[in-house]
Amino acid sequence: MAGTFSFDAPDRWNAFLHRQETVGYGDGALGGLPVAVKDNISTAGLPTTCGSRILEGYVPPYDAHVVTLLKAAGAAIVGKTNMDEFGMGTTTENSAYGPTTNPADPGRVPGGSSGGSAAAVAGGLVPAALGSDTGGSIRCPAAFCGIVGLKPTYGRVSRYGLIAYSNSLEQIGPLAATVSDVSRLMAVIAGYDARDSTSADRPYAHTPSAEIRGTRIGVPAEFFGEGVDEAVGERVRDALAVLEHLGAEIVPCTMPSMAFALAAYYVTCTSEASSNLARFDGVRYGPAVDTKKQWHAAFRELRGDRFGNEVQRRIMLGTFALSAGYYGKYYAKAQVARKAVRDDFARLLRDVDVIAGPTMPTTAWRLGEKSDPLSMYLSDILTVPANLAGVPAISVPCGTVNGLPAGLQIIGRHFEDERVVDVGFAYEQEVRR
């Protein structure tokens, strides 16, 4: 039955940027289920800032398609969650409104950029949340906080109303404590939307099954290579042994395109960001510019003042990569490299049903521990390939290292989100027994 409730649980992790004190809900598949929404997903009447001061005070006049679907299914939208500014980061420390902390250890980062959504779920504030994943931004915080996160196949969930950062890579997806709850949310948000030109007519109506006998699981050597913490690798190998015990076949393989996947990813996402973020000039949304100055002077000053360092860096990297003299060296090469990643996945997924490995190379690090941008970028190495190829990928908790959660990542063929969910579900059911 439709109704309202108060949402006033203490937020010790700075997971929320905006909360509704009295929340309405309807009837339906998610009737009364509290759901938190990442702050780059538009919500009519609720502030939406992308974790940025440049959108401070912005209240969208419309709902993102996924929010419309959640409301139609009866879900209660309890508020907007903290994030790295415009989704640029791996820790949720890059928010203009302060970092989110990790419920598993408040001295550590929750991962990013959907760190607020992951902390809200892991901290028990909500049973489910929406995030967005451009290079791992759902799977990374899911792994660091010890919950489940799914990046659906590109195009399977409408991005209408998602404030764009890198359109060709990003995808909205669910986070929850269990695979079943992630699957339940996915069933509501997936499907065709004419307002997203990349939308695919592939609804998701699936009940997770733990029957995975005969499933062939490819394990690329590169997923356990340089930079991957030995203990994290060990936990993931234990998880693969559990899947093998359940009747899956483990197939060692290699993925040579991993050598340049990360560089291709960062050139692509910064290039797209430089174009997408050009619209933030203080004229149409966000705080007003000083109109006494000329257009570009006012524009430059506002963007210098209101964008954080990481956003400025990525816009400038993209501007540089797309400039006349460097386009061939960076952007064009990145697109060739991206195709090589896609081809690698296609080749591997002809022989195996899914690919598995760690989600993140390490467990969550301490707040402030990584201040060098490049070292932060390098930690995305295992998650970005799925975004470059547009294939579905899930992160499922697979034990702990020194008390901190580690994540098992399962990557599948295009539009086989159901299969990655099943493999994750089979593992989860077995270890919970």
Binding site: A194, S197, P287, E301, R313, A332, V336
Partner: protein, 89 residues
């Protein structure tokens, strides 16, 4: 390697003002990232233009959109039912 002057030029192109005191750190970090991007030098061929692409434009049909009050609810300044921007000249 790009110099601080070039960083300033890129910042101007991107409409971002970088404070002088941050320029050195910014340039150093920018260069270390560009050095990493050099991995792409190992990638050989360029993609063939337009291969496998086709037009997916839909018919241009007028559909209901946001009303004017909703559109003007966010801009910092408006005048005569238009969004007011800074002067250009």
């Amino acid at each position: 390697m790009v110099s601080e002057t070039e960083i300033n030029d890129i910042a101007n192109l991107a409409d971002i003002s970088i404070p002088k005191e941050e320029l050195g750190t910014f340039t150093a970090q920018f260069n270390s990232i560009l050095e990493y991007f050099d991995l792409l030098d190992a990638v050989e061929a360029a993609p063939s233009e337009g291969a496998g692409r086709y037009n997916i434009f839909r018919e241009d049909i007028v559909e209901p959109s946001l009303d004017q009050d909703a559109v003007l609810s966010n801009p910092g300044a408006s005048e005569d039912e238009f969004i007011k921007g800074p002067r250009v000249m």
